[in-house]
Symmetry: C2
């Protein structure tokens, strides 16, 4: 009972061995992470089209719930770039930005997403995330990075542009280019330039100054904080908000409020599909990050339990003024590098952010939105990696077509269509390939008991024995294809008296394929040709034994291909009317 509970509430497990050393490590990590997360949370709220405090709120209760139910010890849960973009796209379709309805719809989206993740987790359906292939994920992240960066250009220019696809965004930006505010542009470009330099140039300089690698790294990561502080001071000192600079303005000084997501059936219906998409993409991103860190510390991640942890976090976000969250790479890196040992570090971060929400919000009144946009742009451009196109092109055209379609359609038609098409193409390509499997005619590699393709190796063969290795599981999509292929080979070959199908690569035989094998058996019997199987695997044999095929098999099942060769080669089989086969020649 306790063990079972511990499985579903991992905190009961690691909590027992929590000691002073772990506590102090976690606390130090939490202080660092809190400082880093403040600008990031504000920026992602801006990206999602929500008031800045929503980003802070979405980082408090979700972190605590994930610390209780999640399995990763390094994962930091909260708003992330891609999910914020998806939120803006989904909520923008049901409400106007800046309205109360928009905020409520974001809560509903978090609730639906949390409910979906929790359901998948309880049903142990985490494997579904595997249907997002690596190239599709890579393509999607790259395209999203481009979209996100473009969506933030309006804040850097200080204009009021919109759009959810690349052509829409660029068109809207071009239309409003004349309204560019020079002060906003100056602040924004300065921030971008500084942040790029902090990423590329600062760290080597610090190392040259004799600082250790870890400290240099943390200072480098504090770049956004420096940009926020500096531009806020400039904006305040020169009252730049009176000259057209958009600033964050008043943010309520409050702990996360208790909020109620909208539950109208229309709203739920409109947000259901985006919620499923956000859940799956968020889950895939989160699990990838968690597994990366778990591998470094030789810990294990349980994907199904991760679903429960993320589900709880999102439901928490829905009731405390947040919006959809997931485990993010950049915040987890900070957490890990700062030395976090247990999920408790996350909980302390939550306390830190809560203090910030109550005490520090007046300080960000003059924070320019252009600075936040700059931090987003610099962060997401590191996600853009078009090399996946080249890599997949070299390796496999079908993987390439999936990634290319995902990138193009995400940019041109939006994130939802892009990723859905990518998944559909991956699945269809896989089905297509398995529907016309490779079938090799094989012979004995001389001096061994090993059989290989006669077209690739110098092998021994016997014209009276046709030995075929079917390189695919037999199932409905290829059953008829194989039946035809084998019949054609047999009718074209001269003097074939036995056919041996080597089943070493046949991992399953479904009912359609069973019927095809039975039909094949009957036809070969009519033609006076023996029909044998070899190297049938245990699970396949178990299944075939429940059917009639083996009883009526016009031949034998051999343990190995070599046993079949020894029994059949160089000796004619019993002459059951071999006339037909001869006539064909």
């Amino acid at each position: 009972m306790i063990d079972r509970l511990r499985k579903f509430v991992p905190v009961l497990d690691w909590g027992r061995t929590y000691d002073g050393a772990a506590f102090s490590n976690d606390l130090v990590a939490a202080v660092i992470v809190t400082i880093m997360l403040i600008p990031q949370s504000l920026a992602y709220a801006l990206l999602a089209g929500l008031p800045p405090e929503a980003g802070i709120y979405a980082s408090i209760v979700p972190i605590i719930l994930y610390a209780i139910f999640g399995t990763s010890r390094a994962l930091a849960v909260g708003p992330v770039a891609v999910v914020s973009l998806l939120t803006a796209s989904a909520v923008g379709q049901v409400a106007e930005q800046g309205t109360a309805g928009y905020v409520v719809a974001a809560l509903t989206l978090a609730l639906l997403s949390g409910g979906f993740l929790l359901t998948l987790g309880i049903l142990r359906l985490g494997f579904l995330a595997n249907f997002l292939s690596h190239p599709v994920i890579a393509g999607f992240i790259t395209a999203s990075g481009i979209l996100i960066a473009c969506s933030q250009l309006k804040h850097v220019l200080g204009v009021d542009a919109g759009g959810h696809t690349l052509p829409e965004m660029l068109g809207s930006l071009a239309a409003h280019l004349g309204e560019t505010n020079p002060i906003t542009l100056a602040i924004g470009t300065a921030a971008i330039a500084f942040l790029f330099w902090a990423r590329k140039g600062l760290k080597p300089s610090l190392r040259n100054m004799g600082l250790g690698p870890k400290v240099s790294d943390l200072i480098t990561k504090a770049g956004p904080i420096a940009a926020v502080v500096a531009t806020t001071l400039v904006a305040w000192y020169f009252s730049l908000n009176e000259r057209g600079l958009s600033i964050v303005g008043e943010v309520p000084q409050s702990l996360p409020p208790l909020t109620m997501p909208g539950l109208e059936p229309d709203l739920i219906a409109a947000l259901a599909v985006p919620a499923v998409l956000i859940s799956i993409i968020g889950f895939v991103e989160s699990v990838s990050v968690a597994q990366t860190f778990a591998a470094k510390k030789r810990q294990r991640i349980d994907p199904d339990q991760e679903l429960i942890g993320l589900g709880a976090a999102n439901i928490g976000a829905a009731f405390t003024g947040g919006y959809p969250v997931t485990g993010g790479f950049s915040r987890s890196v900070v957490n890990f590098d700062a030395g976090a040992e247990t999920p408790a570090a996350g909980a302390y971060t939550a306390v830190g952010l809560a203090i910030a929400a109550v005490a520090l919000t007046p300080l960000i009144y003059f924070l320019p939105k252009a600075t936040l946009a700059a931090t987003i742009i610099v962060a997401v451009l590191s996600l853009v990696d078009l090399s996946i196109l080249k890599k997949t092109w070299n390796y496999s055209k079908s993987d390439f077509s999936a990634v290319a379609a995902t990138i193009l359609l995400t940019l041109l038609l939006g994130v939802e269509i892009g990723v859905a098409t990518g998944v559909a193409i991956s699945v269809l390509m896989h089905l297509y390939k398995t529907s016309r499997p490779h079938v090799a005619e094989i012979g004995l590699v001389p001096g061994t008991q090993h059989f290989r393709n006669i077209n690739r190796y110098k092998v021994e063969t016997d014209p009276s024995v046709l030995m075929l290795r079917v390189d695919e599981s037999l199932y409905f999509a290829n059953a008829r294809f194989l039946e035809n292929l084998i019949l054609v080979r047999v009718t074209e070959g001269c003097g074939i008296r036995n056919v041996v199908l080597m089943f070493s690569a046949v991992n399953a035989v479904d009912y359609s394929a069973l019927e095809s094998l039975e039909a094949l058996n009957d036809r070969l019997r009519d033609m006076g040709v023996g029909f044998h199987l070899s190297e049938v695997k245990g699970p396949v044999m178990d299944r075939l034994k429940t059917a009639h095929l083996l009883q009526h098999l016009n031949g034998r099942v051999f343990l190995s291909q070599y046993a079949a060769w020894t029994a059949l080669a160089d000796r004619p089989s019993e002459p059951h009317e071999p006339v037909m086969a001869d006539e064909m020649c």
Copy 2:
């Protein structure tokens, strides 16, 4: 050039060798088939909700076009039961039965279906039909048979009922039961009883009377004709139409008219999905029938060319007053049994039906609709075969779930949802199974060079060499699963110094799986464990050579598992820090 033309127009091929003997055989077959087809064509038009002559028209031009473009020498193309039901269901959603719009919509459906088939054929996409698994087809045909029989009960009762699903039909019949016309019921039940007897009892009696099997068979098949003639005479003699019996009534005496399908965008949009469904189901039925007969005569069917033949036939139907057609089993059986040798028999049948359409239609004025309904009911009940449920239950629960869902949903929610769900379940089940593949730890079968599962066979092993046979192609859906599984096995095993993955069952490695293998290679190197592959197939090896994995492989690629065993077993590999692996124990 000529050869290429011959490929697309098979008549140019068989037409060259056409002689007098084939002509007389074909002519005899055509006369018999014409007589058989008249009641069948009228009945299926009734089932499709169309005027009776549409069934005749749909059997004339389509037969000729198929004879020119199709590859089967025995297939008879025309209206069939399942496609007629699908037509009624699709067209019923856009127009009212009995209106001109209904007839035009049926023409449009035939045009769309023909265009779709033709496109698939030109693009050589015939393999798509393979995604309808045998169990799904069997379930769909069975459920359709039940639905069709129920849909005809209203004609036997003489009431005005409706509905497209089983509950709707039964509910509507129950509501109208009080209006039953006793004369219609008497004619209908008498016809059903006679036709059942003709199927089961007549043939043995004829054989007992000393008639040959072929003649007995043909006389038995003429049962519907006898029923049609007898009930028509009774209806005419007693003027039963004045007492509430529904009769066919006036049918225009005409050759197939030139008709124009409706081309309104709304109509096309509404009928596009049903047209795709009708095309695929019709194609699958037709190819199955054609292959059955081709096998008997050792001829070959080209599925892609069949698509072109059926596409042309449907387009022909659209412009000559017909509705969607395909190759039917019952009409092809008649054709085959009557001795048809070439597709020319079909053309002569078309001439026969054209004569019937011009000359014989006045004779069927008094033909009771109840008789036509009876011929349909008796014909389709032979399609109902629930044994597929038991067979798939015994063999494979996932096949069973696909067939059960197809039957239930077809009956309860209609043919389109039923078959779509069946296909979706088949595909998802397949993906699910391949996403968690069977991985066997293997050892050497003593005295051989053959390796089998250590849990099933008594085999030799070496604790320092973990040999795993992965029973599935590696692709995105199982890449991460395998990566985890192998790492867990390695970290749990004691003193493992080498891992050999036997790739005999790995038929493909996509880009996601390649990345997983690279990650696995890196992790095993970090742990000081060698990583080897064996029995990599030619096509997989070709692909892997384009990537970096093989250059960086922390081990070797062996031709056979036995070669790997000889090289690695009983000898420790180079001790690249084997500390980690030991610590885990």
